[in-house]
Amino acid sequence: MISALAVEIPYWGQSIFRVVGGLVAVLLPAGGIVYLFLFKMMSFMQSRLGPMEAGPYGSMQLLAEVGKWMQKEDIAPDNADKPIFKIAPLVVLLSTFLLIVVVPFGPDAVFADFDTGVFYFLAVGSISVLGILIAGWASANKYSLLGGLRAAGQLIAYELPMVLATLGVVIQAESMNLNRIIEVQNTGAIFGFGGLGNPFILTQFVGFLIFMIAVQAELTQAPFDMPIAESELVSGYMTEYTGFRFLIFFIAEFATAGVFAFIASVLFLGGWGVPFDWFGWSNIDDVDWWMNIVGPVIMATKMFALVGIIMWVRFSYPRFREDQLQTFAWKFLIPVSLANIAVTAILKVAI
């Protein structure tokens, strides 16, 4: 990646560049999502203004939030399991950073270009379940325990449809490498017309829907927010957390939303690329170097669009009951995603 920018950066410069890049790629979208969607979009949906005092149009609200959460007293309940109680939020945030490693932002702008990128992010995605379960168990509070167990059941139940939905994409792109998937989408053509590329959202629409529903469940958001059901279990596994630990949970929740939106845009909307025909490229190697800079901007717009949908559903839907949620996943989503794979495979072989 660095060599493409036609300037030689020593190795320690590269690692600093990667660390800063990683932080920006995770925290900036999280901050943007919290401000844009949680404060502003929710308020406008509810016909009110949202924070306006801190800075023009409440733009400094995030600074105020972080500043305040730093000053809060850090309470750990006495019969809680102290070390594990303190580690739990970091584990949840850890899985977000691990996910961003494999997301490509440009032909060379990717932290680690694995050949089995899809396999990697599906495996790493389930680390946050551990964090939530630890948080639920360690905070020695009945509500947290109930919330943690519900989260474990739900996240496992919804990882399966996500895996099967991505399987459809992998079959169609014949590769697990994310850059290759983007290349296939942008060079493909629909009935000969190459101007729009072949984003998998068109051919894999059922897979896209199942993936988005599974993402909604992975983030424990509204229709599936049984683990943090305010009206029943006070605030689920986050009940006992205060101060900057709660801030880490809060940021992790929205950062994961951003990262999953990145991945969804890579898999279904053609990631950082625009249809290659517009610039006369034929494959990934002859994409110009400036795409490494424009790529992240395109990815950001697609990500904000997808997160907009996720948050829109979050703020307007009531929540499932626990058993309905499980039956919806096992008895409905998984069979449909299996059918989707079968159809893709048959079409793959036939055409």
């Binding site: 058993d323 309905q324 039956t327 919806f328 008895k331 409905f332």
Partner: protein, 235 residues
């Protein structure tokens, strides 16, 4: 596309008939109805029915003997009064503390402590009373019974009306009346360590003892004490 009404994960789909149209409201109960009810009750519980008072076309009060308090409930339930309204008690002794609104400077005249029962009379200081309604004939009945002063215990209504459970718990903690046959006679409202029964007339309201009610000015006689007939001009 998603067939949500399937019974597998939506609990069994129940009937979707919107409404049953209300038939014409029955004729409002006339006078004969309440006499009929009292006679019917007299047949069911015999001379336990001590006194009855009918407000024509309006209301019906009945007083029964204490020991047949529980089977009056059963009798009325079979007679059609299926809807349980409430159950509570009245302490007929006038409050020895007055209203706490008297002008402290003026010498207080003694309060007559004679116990005078209400509509259907009665001998004892405490009376337990309940109300049932017949939803089809749109008529309500209030049943009273004396509570013996020495041992304030009556039978419980939970046998025929499960709804009386909470009402009797509240009556127990407020008036100190025991209900034998009641499943668990704990305190309903007051915290466990609250001693005394607040609704008894001899339970003082301490705040009023310590600090008389600030609005005493209301009690003074008006500058021109108008007689009854000239009363309404300035209201």
């Amino acid at each position: 596309m998603i067939d949500l009404s399937r019974s597998s994960w939506v609990v069994a789909p129940l009937s979707d008939t919107e409404t049953t149209d209300a038939d014409a409201p029955q004729a409002l109960p006339g006078d004969g109805l309440r006499e009929g009810i009292v006679d019917d009750l007299r047949q069911r519980i015999g001379d336990a029915l001590i006194d009855s008072h009918i407000v024509p076309n309006d209301d019906l009060f009945v007083r029964v003997a204490t020991d047949s308090w529980a089977d009056t409930a059963g009798a009325l339930k079979t007679a059609g009064f299926t809807w349980f309204s409430f159950l509570s008690a009245i302490d007929w002794m006038p409050s020895p503390y007055g209203k706490g609104e008297e002008d402290p400077t003026v010498e207080k005249e003694p309060i007559d402590m004679t116990i005078k029962q209400g509509v259907c009379g009665g001998e004892t200081r405490m009376q337990v009373f309940a109300r049932l309604t017949d939803l089809d004939r749109h008529v309500g009945i209030t049943i009273k019974a004396d509570v013996p002063d020495d041992k304030p215990v009556v039978d419980s209504w939970t046998g025929s009306f499960a709804g009386a459970n909470w009402h009797e718990r509240e009556c127990h903690e407020m008036f100190g009346i025991g209900f034998n046959g009641h499943p668990d006679l704990r305190n309903m409202y007051l915290p466990g360590e609250f001693e005394g029964h607040p609704m008894k007339k001899d339970f003082p309201l301490l705040a009023r003892m310590v600090k008389p009610w600030p609005g005493i000015v209301d009690v003074e006689p008006m500058p021109v004490q108008d007689e009854e007939e000239a009363g309404g001009d300035e209201s």
